[in-house]
Symmetry: C2
Subunit: 632 residues, 2 copies
């Protein structure tokens, strides 16, 4: 089910220069904006004023100070706070006390009226290099605490140098409040290019504001956006934002007949852009999945949703889980190919014993039989499964389809005592991070059943990590109000995320591993230290985890972005969060330590992130597997 | 009640160089150490070994690998982990996996035996520039999680350059675990001077280790410490530490007859040093209070104890609280002097009306009467008090002592309607931070009762702040496991603290303030921004708050360290904590924002700390007074 991008709301923001220009006939004004093709408008609530501190504190609004005086348009209007409010840096001396107090009283008074009218959004002053982020943040905190219906938006002017760093500082001052939303203001000057726009995808965006001056005339003279801007806009379309055209033009165009006016040409163009994009969204590089109806259906509702990793060893999977994964169009054809190649490479003519361990409802049994037919090799398939429910399906399929070609064994593969040894061991025990569903331990356990020189499919798998920004994922974890939730990895279909740099190799497991001799699991313990060169100022909310696996020779499976198996959807990446978001600067090195460790009946990861240039380094998460472990 | 420093435990740590040197006759060894005047010993638990990973995992200890083989000496022994364990930096490659795994298994095995024997302390390897703090911290976390009786100590070698920074990094890696204790190892080389030793007072010290090589021979050839070292030791005496002499000498001295051996000379000297110090402790500059028996008694048990600031306006004080404060030998004599001066400065001969507002049990009434007698001026004293219990005492004193010289009025001073106006208004409403018990609001309310040109005693008060390190205070707040506890200031008698730099002026309140016209309290709102130049690498756990007040002309009260009224003990400083301890580097500027803000019936502080060189800045604490406020 594809989203209809044509329904995306577009608004208009008329910014009067002089007090006389503030609209006084709101009926007429609202009507015009609507007729020009806009779904909402942003407006100042009150006109610039010079009230004293005492007047602000004691008096109610006078009607002529206000632009919006009734609740008639509550669905149509959002509010930009008074033009005079800046929260600019002051000397901090006592004599400056009145400046911020006045701004604080005024914005408070505006916000209360706005809230009373149930207007949807209230925009703070836009951030600039002059903003005193402590004064701004102190007030923002206060408004956030009072907001119920009305949402508060912090506008970020992308024209301001280091705009992202300024916003980032404010976020820390406000202690990562999950209630802050952002509006991005495109530069008025069309010649200013947006750099690192993708980074904003990981931020709590609500609104994109495009000044009319940003548009450039096309050959016919109609306003259009540059190809780069089109791409920026397209990268935001899946995020459920609103878009707003801002201009100091209104009276003039209002005089023109509606429909062809300069105002409507922007909404028309954006509407056209959205509808064009909905048929060929140019995905940002953060999107792992290609455009694919099957995937769209599969992923609906899963974007940025935190799932606890499966524990197939401790829990029995549901039928529906098998059903979903069996639909993957890529994974099983790769398995089939790997088995086919392995059978073709056999020099012996004997009947090959293929052991499918963790057979589930049997997809790899089917793969094995098809591969054997294709390779023209005689095989016997032995399917081992510990899930009693899946085992019923296996029996059903054996009686119906497989017959004598397949033998079934019910039980845990680690304790399976075979009558004969296998030529090929086929398993699908990989998690998003490769080893995180205990494939190493399971395959170590079953390899007794493999002939010397026998083959394991997969024969190896490697893990990869990259530093990730995502305010959304961070907020989703914060929402639990349970610190231990930061000590667990999650399976996530990434959407509002930004990868700061490319993933790096972490570690690898190979099978069979006949060096394993005793019952110790120490050889599956790992520690790796990574160093990431950070190419831009950014924030790290955690690590994105991926795997690459070799099924057989050059037949591979990968969810690592640069080598991702096209169209494969069985695995979303793993997200290792960190409790304290970490700001990293361009040129810095980010140090990552990650452990895979085990004791008794548990295996777990611990991870820490830090930068040499900074204190304090991030602490070690999930120490001693206290919060998250995988049960053996 | 003075502490008897002579009872401080002194231990001996014999560090064998070769495996052959490890003591084998533990009875004899323990006995000798005890006879030489030591209360405990530190010992290796096991000898250096070359066991493989698998041997370590599967085998129990062999008796000849161990130094301690029975529980016979559990009260006398603490343990230094095996000499071979380092957790040094490795390449982080997979091939290095075995190195840390081996060290981890060995230390684990040692710790379990140590814990089983209920030995008191287990010392980790000492920190050095080569230590891989992530590997070290990962293991430390694990041991801390397993420790019950045995406490874990991290030794810090003060000879290592940047020893404090290394420890600080480890603390962040271990997420500020409150279970970590430190041992400080003095440099063996007596010529190495300890710099910034005071900084360690704010750290979780348990043990001071002094190598015998640190001692220098005195004229008679006996080992003594340098004057600087003596002072360092003295500054730690109030902290309840243990002291340990370490040496590779044992066998040799053991051959000598006991009592005069080289070993006993260290314990004798330390015992002498402690007893000398107990009669004249050279307080570190962190101690606000002078040596004074009255103060010692008063402060017993209050060191580093977090008290919620008094709310005398919302709550009625207890009689015992009055009693304690009335004992202050300095405060009331300053008040008396101020009233005396004010009366002497009067040009009129009329009877002066002194209004004592918030009279409590009447100490300021007594001051006023004494001052009048002394100044030979006729006065009438009017005492206003809202606490019905204190008012009973006032009535009692009036009937017994004051008679007609004093009139009493029961009620809140802010609503008191006087028959005549006062010449002098005397109040004692100051908190540790000056205005934090709402003196400004109360005096604004009562100043209606003051004649034009009348005098308020105090006539002004200023607040001061300094950045403070204190792991103890931080841990005490962490202990609540309630984040909101970081959003409140506390009254604390500082002990295990270190002030990173001198306090700075914050803001001031003056009385009377006849500009106040309406009911607004905006004029008592404040915002101040401070910049502290940080003179050394350090950690900030919060702010220390102080006040200075002018009672009248040059008659002052101060708890600001540089101007502290000698001997006055009525006020401990205020501590504003921060949730995320902040590492600051030498030469950096620390920015502090603090607000005093009010709405409705509340006044509160908000505060934030940050450094320009770092992200993220500390967030704004107690936003909107959500966690702490003072009720009007």
């Amino acid at each position: 089910m594809k989203k209809d991008f044509k329904q995306i709301p577009i608004g208009y923001f008329y910014m009067p220069n002089e007090i006389e220009d503030y609209p006084c006939d709101i009926d007429n004004y609202s009507n015009t904006i609507q007729v020009e093709g806009y779904n909402f408008t942003l407006s100042y609530l009150s006109k610039p004023c010079n009230n004293s501190l005492m007047e602000l504190e004691t008096n109610s609004w006078k009607l002529d100070e206000l632009v919006i005086t009734t609740a008639d348009y509550s669905n149509f209007y959002s509010i930009q706070c008074n033009k005079t409010i800046k929260f600019n840096k002051t000397s901090g001396n006592e004599s400056d006390n009145d400046i911020w107090l006045k701004e604080k009283l005024l914005i408070n008074k505006e916000f209360e009226w706005c809230n009373h009218l149930s207007l949807k959004y209230f925009l703070m002053p836009s951030l600039s290099a002059e903003t005193d982020l402590n004064l701004y943040g102190m007030t923002l905190n206060q408004l956030l605490a009072k907001a119920n219906y009305t949402k508060i938006i912090v506008p970020v002017d992308l024209q301001v140098p280091n705009a992202w760093l300024i916003w980032n500082k404010l976020r820390f001052i406000c202690n990562h409040s999950p209630s802050i939303n952002l509006a991005l203001i495109f530069p008025s000057d069309a010649s200013i290019e947006l750099t690192n726009f993708d980074q904003w995808i990981a931020e709590p965006l609500k609104l994109i504001i495009i000044p009319t001056a940003r548009f450039i005339p096309n050959k016919k003279g109609y306003p259009v956006l540059s190809p780069a801007d089109q791409q920026s806009i397209a990268s935001t379309l899946k995020l459920n934002l609103k878009y707003l055209v801002s201009s100091s033009e209104y009276k003039k165009s209002h005089a023109m007949h509606t429909g062809d006016s300069s105002i409507s040409s922007y909404s028309k163009y954006l509407r056209f852009l959205f509808s064009k994009s909905s048929s060929s969204v140019s995905f940002s590089k953060n999107y792992l999945l290609q455009e694919n109806p099957e995937i769209d259906e599969f992923s609906e509702g899963y974007q940025d949703y935190l799932q606890s990793p499966l524990q197939p060893l401790m829990n029995h999977l549901e039928s529906s889980t098998y059903q979903v994964f069996e639909k993957d169009p890529v994974k099983y054809s790769q398995y089939e190919l790997a088995i086919y190649r392995a059978l073709r490479d056999r020099t012996s003519d004997d009947v090959a014993l293929i052991m499918v361990v963790g057979a589930g409802r049997g997809p790899l049994v089917d793969c094995s039989l098809r591969a054997a037919a294709q390779a023209n090799r005689r095989v016997k398939v032995l399917a081992v499964e510990k899930n009693p429910n899946a085992f019923i399906t296996l029996q059903y399929k054996k009686s119906l389809e497989w017959q004598d070609r397949v033998e079934l064994y019910f039980g845990d593969m680690r304790y399976f005592e075979p009558i004969e040894l296998a030529d090929i061991l086929v398993s699908e025990l990989l998690g998003s991070f490769g080893d995180n569903e205990l494939s190493p331990e399971c395959l170590d356990g079953i390899q007794r059943c493999l002939k010397p020189g026998g083959i394991s499919i997969p024969c190896d798998y490697s893990s990869y990590l990259a530093p990730l920004s995502s305010t959304k994922l961070f907020n989703n974890i914060q929402y639990y109000q349970d610190e231990s939730k930061f000590h667990s990895p999650y399976v996530v279909m990434f959407q509002s995320v930004f990868r700061l740099t490319d993933p790096q190799y972490v570690w690898k497991f190979e099978h069979p591993n006949f060096e394993v001799k005793n019952n110790s699991n120490l050889h599956n313990c790992r520690h790796t230290k990574l160093k990431f060169n950070i190419p831009l100022d950014g924030i790290v909310h955690g690590l994105a985890g991926y795997f690459e696996a070799t099924l057989y020779k050059d037949v591979k499976l990968s969810i690592n972005p640069s080598t991702h198996s096209p169209g494969m959807f069985s695995w979303f990446p793993l997200f290792f969060p960190i409790k304290n978001p970490l700001t990293v600067r361009k040129g810095e090195e980010l140090n990552v330590n990650i452990w895979r460790y085990g004791e008794d009946k548990k295996v777990w990861y611990e991870w820490s992130l830090g930068s040499d240039n900074q204190f304090g380094p991030e602490f070690i998460h999930n120490s001693q597997g206290q919060h998250y472990y995988i049960g053996l």
